[in-house]
Symmetry: D2
Subunit: 394 residues, 4 copies
Amino acid sequence: MAKTSNKVRMGMVGGGQGAFIGNIHRMAAFLDGKIELVAGAFSSNHDNCLLTGHMLGIEPTRCYASYQQMFEAEAKLPAEQRIQFVSVVTPNHLHFPVSKCALEHGFHVLSDKPATMDLHQVLELEKIVTSQQKLYGLTHTYTGYPMVKEACEQVAAGALGDVVKIIVEYSQGWLAETTNEENKQASWRLDPKRAGASCCMGDIGVHAANLAEYVSGLKITELCADLTSVVAGRVLDDDGTVLLKFNNGAKGVLIASQISVGEENNLSIRVYGTKASFEWRQEEPNSLIKKYNNQPREIIRAGVGTLAANTNAYLRTPAGHPEGYIEAFANIYLQFINQIIALEQQSDSDISELAPDIEQAIRGMAFIENVVEASKQQTKWQPFKLTVNSEGQI
Amino acid sequence: MAKTSNKVRMGMVGGGQGAFIGNIHRMAAFLDGKIELVAGAFSSNHDNCLLTGHMLGIEPTRCYASYQQMFEAEAKLPAEQRIQFVSVVTPNHLHFPVSKCALEHGFHVLSDKPATMDLHQVLELEKIVTSQQKLYGLTHTYTGYPMVKEACEQVAAGALGDVVKIIVEYSQGWLAETTNEENKQASWRLDPKRAGASCCMGDIGVHAANLAEYVSGLKITELCADLTSVVAGRVLDDDGTVLLKFNNGAKGVLIASQISVGEENNLSIRVYGTKASFEWRQEEPNSLIKKYNNQPREIIRAGVGTLAANTNAYLRTPAGHPEGYIEAFANIYLQFINQIIALEQQSDSDISELAPDIEQAIRGMAFIENVVEASKQQTKWQPFKLTVNSEGQI
Amino acid sequence: MAKTSNKVRMGMVGGGQGAFIGNIHRMAAFLDGKIELVAGAFSSNHDNCLLTGHMLGIEPTRCYASYQQMFEAEAKLPAEQRIQFVSVVTPNHLHFPVSKCALEHGFHVLSDKPATMDLHQVLELEKIVTSQQKLYGLTHTYTGYPMVKEACEQVAAGALGDVVKIIVEYSQGWLAETTNEENKQASWRLDPKRAGASCCMGDIGVHAANLAEYVSGLKITELCADLTSVVAGRVLDDDGTVLLKFNNGAKGVLIASQISVGEENNLSIRVYGTKASFEWRQEEPNSLIKKYNNQPREIIRAGVGTLAANTNAYLRTPAGHPEGYIEAFANIYLQFINQIIALEQQSDSDISELAPDIEQAIRGMAFIENVVEASKQQTKWQPFKLTVNSEGQI
Amino acid sequence: MAKTSNKVRMGMVGGGQGAFIGNIHRMAAFLDGKIELVAGAFSSNHDNCLLTGHMLGIEPTRCYASYQQMFEAEAKLPAEQRIQFVSVVTPNHLHFPVSKCALEHGFHVLSDKPATMDLHQVLELEKIVTSQQKLYGLTHTYTGYPMVKEACEQVAAGALGDVVKIIVEYSQGWLAETTNEENKQASWRLDPKRAGASCCMGDIGVHAANLAEYVSGLKITELCADLTSVVAGRVLDDDGTVLLKFNNGAKGVLIASQISVGEENNLSIRVYGTKASFEWRQEEPNSLIKKYNNQPREIIRAGVGTLAANTNAYLRTPAGHPEGYIEAFANIYLQFINQIIALEQQSDSDISELAPDIEQAIRGMAFIENVVEASKQQTKWQPFKLTVNSEGQI
């Protein structure tokens, strides 16, 4: 049977039955009908892998026992059949080895975040990405929201004047209850061996930092951090606040928490400029509030009026038909496969913007390590470091 | 190559390049990875059809020049290859002939609404559905929202006491401007030959009526209608209000408009009971507000606390990760393919609830005709009729 | 003792201990420090009257046993001591005789609404107002909100283009429970002898109608009404909907209810024009939402940016310091005493706008009677009548 | 003429024509009709003083040229005529000398905040309050809001479990523009000689700190501060963030800003407990949001259902009739005169709660000085000190 599809072929590592984020990735990948999932190493349990593959309509021969096996076998398939990129949706501690292995076998990688377990690893990863000349993307989902893109575009165009202050917050409540620690989602996040140096900052604080830098176009240069383990007995932080200085002199406050009872997924950002300000809340993502000192507030709405080209490129529905988290996630996938198509097929596919890449991966890991380190210091302000010493410490 | 997929095979009529609703249907169908689009008669323009098919990865041989051709050809394919159901996403006037033809060729039908051009046709359609013993579903999208289901379940369980009043509104503003009439979306909606007896009530008022009956579990029995063509020169209504009586004696107000400047897709419903009341707004669909006279209002949120089983069955993300219109649409598809699987494969697939079906299709067409007729009457209240006379009039 | 105050001297009829609205009127009158309450017939129970007067710091000799006695006695006092106007805060059925008596003794009258028990009485009252050449005002409180004034001013200036549709709603829930009928506030409202021809429309629907005419500058010309007594056993309506036609051809929907469980004092208005639209909600009165089809919504806020002069004249606090119901009420008092000062002292006091007056009183009583009458009719549309026949019927 | 009023007699220092806060104080004092303004030293300009007095209906003989003169003269009047308390509404630098002088002449003092120019002064003031055995109150307005009181009462009753985190924010935008500095309100706030050691923290940050301690019942014990002068050339801070530790181990974040463009008077507080959390926003003050992890959010509304006695005592209107800033201010006045009545008349007046007093005044001044000092330090955390050394420094 002749190949008729021009869909991009994806393999997946992780995401077996019972996994949460794997299913989100798949919905994001499937939404636009441009990606075909053709292979997977969904679970270290091969039965789970086969079952998952069956439910997804994947040939059993391409449901692999391990990611290593998958990359080896797929690399041997004809170019027009083999997977083009790998979606990495394992627990955190496997992101690095899986991504490394995939890149080394010649596959592009789109990884769930965080990219690696520490800054040292991500710097290693950067070398591999560079040497392999393959694409690397990171699903910093929240930058996929169209109204976040609108804010980013308007800030870049000077609509706020100079940015002078950023308040970014990511508060959740689900780790307030100790009984939750027994559940699957909680247990690995609170285990340093699987989660890395931080729970709250590594899981969600890093999204907030990424969002602040993305929207403002600024870079964090110094920070003052205070992390807390609110629930007794925890080794890792479940709450924290970070004061920030940015490269243009603006200041910021980053609040992250997993013990703020009653908060669901309360990610919000406010960017204050000399002329106007933006406010965006993830739980009502289709509105972007623009505030002025001496004129009415504006509610900029998805699909209404003139928006930036890079906003419109990522909207799927007309005004008033709300889009949400899965659509934002799907936008990261869209960005990434557009890059693949442009690279592999030399097509004129519209790459309006790159997906979050290795640079953002590095800054994210650096953020986590810098915050953990700064929180231990008596001195208020610490520089934001992007390098490690010979012991792999920042 | 052996068939490895257990996905449900779908054909589509309509939805070529440039069509709006076809793409929405496809995203809804693709989202969960359980439906495979394998054939289509996407456009009466065959080049468009082939192009659309190519972009969707469909074999050219299954990109058909007409729906008749598709049903004939597909019916001849082996059972395990041929389409199992047809998604009908043509302009309104083709919904009936396409659905009829599909059913008569042995295919289940999931149709965009309205089901037909008039009540007479839908009663015809009912006969065919019955005689063919095939499934018929209608994409009354808004009942696919999980929090609408939660409201429905709680009303049925008596959480509001007796329902005494319903206010349902569906206001848009996009037809306020006459220049819009030149655009594709507007032109057919305002043309009686393609849209039927009503523009505003047929396009959106019927959704509001469906939502009111769905959430309350009640049936409209009498109505008083006032339709208006606000923009000069229009033959069909672009605005209207309908007073309602329900079968339990409750009263209702239904407001629909396409000329309410600044309204996007403002569908909302409030159901007032003797003990408590519900308020839901489509533009913020993940919250359901429950009001009491002597205790705090509750904001029931998707993913938070104990929700009805039929609500949870249609949620894809954890609390605070907003779902939207496409997910609601996808829920209608999910319901429908679950029915197909249960019927065809005698599997134990969970059919928590049927998709909107021929009964709702009939009530919808009856609503439109009753409203148009009642609006012409001098007498205030008119009975809600579900039958036509020998001339096909209600 | 020399007169030292330039405050306006007020007498009050009604408002003894236990009364609700009397206290609201007093706070409204006192707020700006420009009105002095110097006399009262607060209760038909003289002990209550004296006690109320004592608590308010009024001389016992000016705490009168009856309103007739008050007007007679006050009229004999020197001009610089006697009351200048009377605040009428009795139950509905006394509004007319008290107002009539006050006017006939030469006092201006500011009356709680409704002005009288029926249209016949208010037309009588109009004659007295005219013949006495005294001021008559009516506390249609909601027109006292600054952002309502802003909407009114902008509509008048053409900011919305032509008004084509108005949706006004006033929903409460407190009369849903039958046990409430035993309480003082409920019992008289549900008694035709004390409340007049309507409960819901007389108590709150008339406010909604007044607000619609005030903001839009239009007049109701026809209506279609449907009143209901939702709670069994009631003689008067506790819920109703009225379809409206206005003198420019615009249509409207007026919804009023006292049995909508969980609604507090949910008065809202939306005015749709050909260019833009307004939305205002009494429960968040400091914001006025302006909607457009092709540009961001605006949240016009009290105290922010350039507002109409007639808006600014009635604001007391800077932006972000919320004002509420008492301040709106106080604005009616301010308007009225500014009229008194202008009339009596020929001062150059700024009369930016008249308080609601006898014309609005007449239209209000006509609204109630027209609605009650139209609700009884089988014919859909009825003309809005402002006159009575020889039997006192509209 | 016999004394007929049982109103409490007030004198005022400051608040002449052109002053903003004086008028707010007067509206707050007048609202309930229980306070009589009988004397004033409204301005250092005697013509302004007389004019203000005339407009307020005060005898010219009691419009004094200076506060010293007023206190001396009033002290000589008969007890039943002389002022009972003084409202101090001057610029900041006069709060201390006026309050001191008033107390020493035997008058109770209700002062606008901050109490003094520094901690040293307020500790002096405390000695005078104690020695004179007079009442001292401070208008920390925001604790006057009924829903703030409800939060406070519920926290005290354990409704949230243990408080673990507090986020309090007070953001304004009006000082973002340098041209504003020329206006009267801005100029003294930015002048260290008239405003004290801080602009932003002294003017509004101190309200946020007071609100956090009031609602939570906790005390700040340590802080980490970062103040900024965002607008070039300013000596004092116009923006700042403070990390907090409380006496139960809870942590907090306090954000204050006067340069956040588009923010009006955005004071909000969130108190997170182990069982539930509260959120309150000053710009929508009649709602208190209570959040849970596993049940619907509750919107606790003024006037709805069962509220704490201390909440109900400060509500003036029924549910849905919004109260605002002036009413909150008036509640501070009510608390204070109830204390006066209880003290002077040994009456059984209901003192449900004391107005903010000298202890809160001390903590407020300490907060300002501690924050300014901590902001200069390199070391992250500083203890919160309530005492000064021999040089008057903390």
